[in-house]
């Protein structure tokens, strides 16, 4: 090192990419009370306080590496006797033997630090006063509460609205078609020009159309009569519930039509009847869409995650715990472009599977009754995964009596 630099009225040091000190000048040695050979070869962190080490790693090193220079950086240097020394530092990146060398010069700023300390204290006090103003806090809390209520009401209104739109669609399409058939075939029965054979056929078609009509009406009934989950929630053991529902599904189809694998699942706080209905519909779907009538292998998992509980009002955030339940099968799957529509009433992607077109609509309504979210992901030939998010309620922490199925 040049004598001028060694005796300069500022601290000087240089280090490399590995943060190893290559050279230090007299001033730095004097300020830290270390000898030159005690510092060179050491990591630069050796002469920094812990907060300055973090700052060096997260800010200063990346900055130097990428921009090649840094100016007016405030750091605290640590001396032998553990006194912290406030410094302002300038640094540049140069090259020596093809490798980067970072050269730094600094001056001590004890007085500036005192002045800044006072400014920081004054500013923080002003900010705290503003933030902690109790009236403001109370109003903010009330606003958040009201926003949450509004959000819930908006969600409910939106849900009812969508149901009305769906009802309208069902009345205009799903019910018109059988009605048209009924009126057409009953006309055939009264007109004399038709032969007995045709009339027999018309009678059969008439019966079919009325069965179709009855299916639509009973489906509608089930969908619209499904009540809000409300106060009928209890702690539900999902492990038990899934097993019971799988037995029901087998009873309705055939033995060994379904196999469930599940680790220990989280408990739920929910309406048990509706949960049964929900998982019954989901598992039935897995059986219905199993490959070539093979056994449906269904994997059920639960994970606890955090999710913004605001659904309708943008710009509001309140992260709450939700249980995420994934029900994944290995069936035929479907083209994921249809995913947004499958939760609508009487939407069937395949007409020959015996579904009523109400199952997933019912599932969505049940999940939303519980303040939850439902989504579906599918890949052709690979299978379908339904994901359900249900809010965890604190009640779960102090379990009441387990609900017996």
């Amino acid at each position: 090192m040049h004598d001028y630099l060694n005796g300069a009225p500022c601290g000087y040091f240089s280090f490399n990419d590995e943060s190893i000190l290559l050279s230090v000048n007299d001033m730095l040695c004097r300020l830290t009370d270390y000898k030159r050979d005690e510092l060179t070869g050491k990591n630069i962190e050796f002469i920094l306080t812990l907060p300055s080490r973090i700052f060096y790693q997260t800010h200063l090193f990346p900055l130097l590496k990428m921009r090649g220079r840094a100016e007016e950086i405030f750091l605290t240097i640590l001396g032998r006797d553990k006194t912290a020394l406030a410094v302002l530092l300038n640094a540049v990146k140069n090259e020596e033997d093809g490798k980067p060398v970072y050269q730094c010069a600094f001056i001590t700023v004890p007085n500036r630090k005192k002045f800044e300390d006072e400014l920081v204290a004054a500013r923080n006090k002003a900010e705290r006063a503003l933030k902690e103003n109790s009236d403001l806090l109370r109003i903010r809390f009330e606003l958040q509460e009201q926003a949450a209520q509004l959000d819930a009401q908006l969600a409910l209104v939106k849900k009812h609205n969508q149901e009305l739109i769906q009802l309208n669609r069902v009345v205009t399409h799903e019910m018109q078609e059988p009605l048209r058939k009924i009126s057409m075939f009953s006309e055939m029965l009264t007109e004399e020009k038709f032969a007995a054979f045709d009339k027999d056929n018309a009678r059969k078609r008439l019966a079919n159309a009325s069965i179709q009509m009855r299916t639509v009406v009973s489906g509608l009934q089930q969908f619209f009569w499904l009540e809000e989950a409300g106060d009928k929630k209890v702690n539900v053991d999902l492990n038990k519930l899934i097993r019971v529902v799988a037995l029901d599904v087998e009873a309705g189809t055939s033995k060994d039509s379904i196999s469930i694998s599940a680790d220990t699942l989280s408990g739920l706080y929910a309406n048990p009847e509706q949960m049964k209905m929900l998982f019954y519909e989901l598992l039935c779907n897995s059986v219905r869409f199993a490959k070539d009538g093979r056994r449906a292998d269904v994997v059920v998992t639960t994970t606890e995650i955090q999710r913004n509980s605001f659904r309708q009002i943008p710009g509001h955030y309140n992260y709450e715990s939700y249980i995420k339940i994934d029900v994944a099968d290995n069936g035929n799957g479907f083209d994921p472009q249809y995913a947004p529509r499958v939760f609508d009433l009487f939407v069937r992607l395949q007409s020959n599977t015996g579904g009523r077109g109400i199952g997933l609509a019912l599932c969505k309504k049940i999940v939303e009754n519980h303040g939850g979210f439902i989504s579906i992901d599918s890949a052709l030939e690979k299978g379908t995964t339904v994901s359900i998010l249900l809010p965890v309620h604190n009640d779960l922490l102090s379990p009441k009596s387990d609900h017996l199925l």
Partner: protein
Amino acid sequence: MITKDVIARNNVRVSGKGQPMLFAHGFGCDQNMWRYLTPAFENDYQIILFDYVGAGKSDKNSYEPQRYETLQGYAQDVLEICESLSLRNVIFVGHSVSGMIGLLAAVERPEIFSDLVMVGPSPCYINGDDYIGGFERSDIEGLIETMERNYIGWANFLAPAVMGRADRPELAAELNESFCTTDPVIANQFAKATFFSDNRKDLRKLKTNTLLLQCSEDIIAPLPVGDFLHREIPHSVLKVMKATGHCPHLSEPEETISLIKEYLATKK
């Protein structure tokens, strides 16, 4: 949120073709810090870079203090980027705090991610009973103080931060020149969200295969932290690097690249 908004909000940059590789920068910097790594992958992978809201060239007007109070809000950024680009089978590479941000995102939506690569991660920075994070609360408060002093730039310092400084764009430009993260208020909150986070109980929930890159001398993520992560994350591989410090992708890009490539090769 409309797709275009997310792309502009997070300054998302896409290049290359192939399996998507999403690079998430850490606390204190922006997407530029990946510049030594990405050239090694852009022939075989689709490279996606972005800035968290508040960092780099992101849209700082989109910053919502409530949203970004915890790492969850940042994980939402990641998921929204994946959603708006319809990404699947994503290799997520996250530096520092982005390791845990990636973890939260992959726990919520495992179907999006094929692998996580965490560079210098830590699930909890503050020491606890039977846990060595490396820091005490007072150290972090000291860091926040150091940051505040470095954002001072005397003039803007005098105005209480809560009053904002939209009326002084030239100051922002100046700060932008000197630091990766521009807005002191946002940087302050990000520091708190980062260093006061505790995701230890989330580690076991991760189902995605994970590569942990641990530097040999890193005060921010010391060796016991790497061991803890490896023990708790079910499908994880731990590599202790020769590189020291907290930014091996800056100081030892070759080693970082070869370890990531070596790991990805085992997937083929």
